[in-house]
Symmetry: C2
Subunit: 456 residues, 2 copies
Amino acid sequence: MVHLFFNPKTIAIIGATADPRKFGNAVTVNLLENENLQSEIFPINPKSDTILGLRSYPTVLDVEKNIDLAIVLVPSKVVPSVIDQCIEKQVNRIIIISAGFGEINEDGKRIEKEIAKKSKDVGIKIIGPNCVGIQNIDISMNASFVLTPIKGNVSMVTQSGSFGAACLYEMWWQGLGFSKFANLGNMIDVNLTDLLEYFIEDENTKVACIYLENVVDGRNFYNKLKQLTLKKPTVVLKGGRTAAGMKSASSHTGSIATDYKTLRAAVNQAGATLCENLMDYIAAIKAFSFLPLPSNKKIAFFTNSGGSAVLFSDHLEEFGLELVEFKEEFKEIIDPHLIPLVKKVNPLDMIAGATGEHFYHITKAMLENPEIGIVVPCAVIPTFLEMTQDEHYKAVIKAWNESGRKKPILPIFLSGNLLEPTKKIAEKEKAPLFLSPREAAFAAKVLVDRMMLIQK
Amino acid sequence: MVHLFFNPKTIAIIGATADPRKFGNAVTVNLLENENLQSEIFPINPKSDTILGLRSYPTVLDVEKNIDLAIVLVPSKVVPSVIDQCIEKQVNRIIIISAGFGEINEDGKRIEKEIAKKSKDVGIKIIGPNCVGIQNIDISMNASFVLTPIKGNVSMVTQSGSFGAACLYEMWWQGLGFSKFANLGNMIDVNLTDLLEYFIEDENTKVACIYLENVVDGRNFYNKLKQLTLKKPTVVLKGGRTAAGMKSASSHTGSIATDYKTLRAAVNQAGATLCENLMDYIAAIKAFSFLPLPSNKKIAFFTNSGGSAVLFSDHLEEFGLELVEFKEEFKEIIDPHLIPLVKKVNPLDMIAGATGEHFYHITKAMLENPEIGIVVPCAVIPTFLEMTQDEHYKAVIKAWNESGRKKPILPIFLSGNLLEPTKKIAEKEKAPLFLSPREAAFAAKVLVDRMMLIQK
């Protein structure tokens, strides 16, 4: 049902324009600048003959071919008549990006209902209104006015377009790529559950993530969420968890926000990963996108920074997880690769002089030890003893690559303005990078939670 | 007592070397490369005549001048004899950077005690052993083997050197500058309380921050912390809050970590800001370093991103704070500066089309409204309608500068890989930048907490 939105052969942009001060321009540019997109684009604008080098049509009715997807960007008062034309043209799918409907007043809600009914009667599905659009990065389609992210295995459905964009840019910065992106706006037709259904079947979606404020069809949503979660890790962030947040959410979407207690129970019951802030949300998505699940929940941590070992131990215990105790055989294995002063305990403080070479051997030994489920290397990037700023991360990833990436690693690199060389390696290697002890401990928790769900 | 450590006229580096594979080199380079440092430097190394262009002395006894500060970097087994020479030379202060003492075994603890006793008998104060050193950025003195941060108003004392370095680099990335930095290592003499005493008097320290694992003199620590907090905002992070963390801390410093419940009660009672993770710690330091205190606790939030408004509202309520309700007069003031669709409520969702110009006028109006104590501008950086990527932040800071920076603002900019231009402005303007709704809400909480402490 939703599939065709993401895979249209023909796209009409109603409200396309060469004027860069309009959203109709941003969407047109985004669709045209991705040269790999195979879909045929038809700009619709009665005031132009050509737009950005393409022939422009006065109305969608003037296009000779069938239209799979019409994207509507005209002012709200013109939208109803444009929808009538789309119905007459028998377009298959419509995305209404234009705002100024149910989110502003009762009159807007009334118009939304009329549009929804008319379209439903003829079997046309609608996303929107009041949204930023959708993207299918697999086929290089950016049918939105936000930037095209990098390609990857994460698919997101969000009730806030700009917050979705913020996640997209943040994930880009962290080397995380997208498969599908959908902002649903006021949801007069296609809703969150429809997208969950799509993500269940979509092969390129390995990790699903949701930002939501209100759920309209509780039972159905829960059932699909459960199905999706059993198949793929699913990360959920709910806006409007408090009275103040719910009030703000109602003002945002024009709907009554869903009660958090109910939603939390449903998400937990379905086995999805529930987050309560942006940082946790990104950390969970990052863990699932980059890493395999562990085969056991015992964690081994090593570092060149004793304080970070202490903080990580604290966060781990708070999340109900434990560091494994090293056996004598393992101590013998790591002994030749440690500076003499180092105590062979977990967390393993390899002290400030530890080099990339030390990190390589310890990572390798921990990856090879079947009693360790998750390996957590942690470094404060050194600026002394001739060490280079990326050697520790490089060494960790080398050992991980050689092991076939079968065990999850959560490399924590604490270094603010010195991080850039390490970040470059992470991008190139498509490997994860965690930025604080708490972030990595949270990632360990979500991986273990999912391992236990799958084992049940 | 501590003052002379940070303001020595003469410094001997015992274990100075031209060999870049040694810590003694890193410290020597750090001291020499800051050209503004007025202190005279004396490298001590029996195997060299000159080191990095300076005359080198076989022992500290061979230096003609009095030595205010001796920095010891020789292997641990040589340290006792070097201390004897320092005593004979009557140096004033000693920093022992060398590791391999109480943190590794009982023998190390015994040697520590001997050194401490001998020095105490002749009135020499010691920092360390097992530390990265200290810095006084005001006089361009970096007596440590970690990098020199930017100059500012934050002073830090830390029990973990590498974690202190991690904070230093993270704060650098966030445009936050240092006045004093001290890592105390095993604290055989100078302890946390001594540093708090120094921060109370030190004029350039506007914000004090502490990372600690164990407190040796509870009552005295509490009294000094209370005095310091009444004078200056003080931010505390405790490593070893859980059983696992405490175990790890004992392994780290060789001492028994302080119980968290007791410490938390003391810190709260003293009125200091207690944080439980790195991100909160940096957020609190950032708020106090960049911002004045509010005159009331009512908060106003505006944004181009509805979802971010919802999340901020949630976090604010969780921290016990509230958004102010806009009065009719205020709605009239802001009305001409809003896109017609915008609802004039707090949080104010100015929708995606809001420009820098809109942000400027709303910031200005909120700064001028005495019923608003803290202004929170929030943007997802737009990539459409010809907006530039830094215009929103620029506009906010322009209004803040024009108002004389008398009211705190907490600008949240959500944009990952698009953040760079905004970050550059923040650095240039020495203005704060918050990276998530939760971070800004936490910053609001610590400012309000301190406002209430001061008003009491």
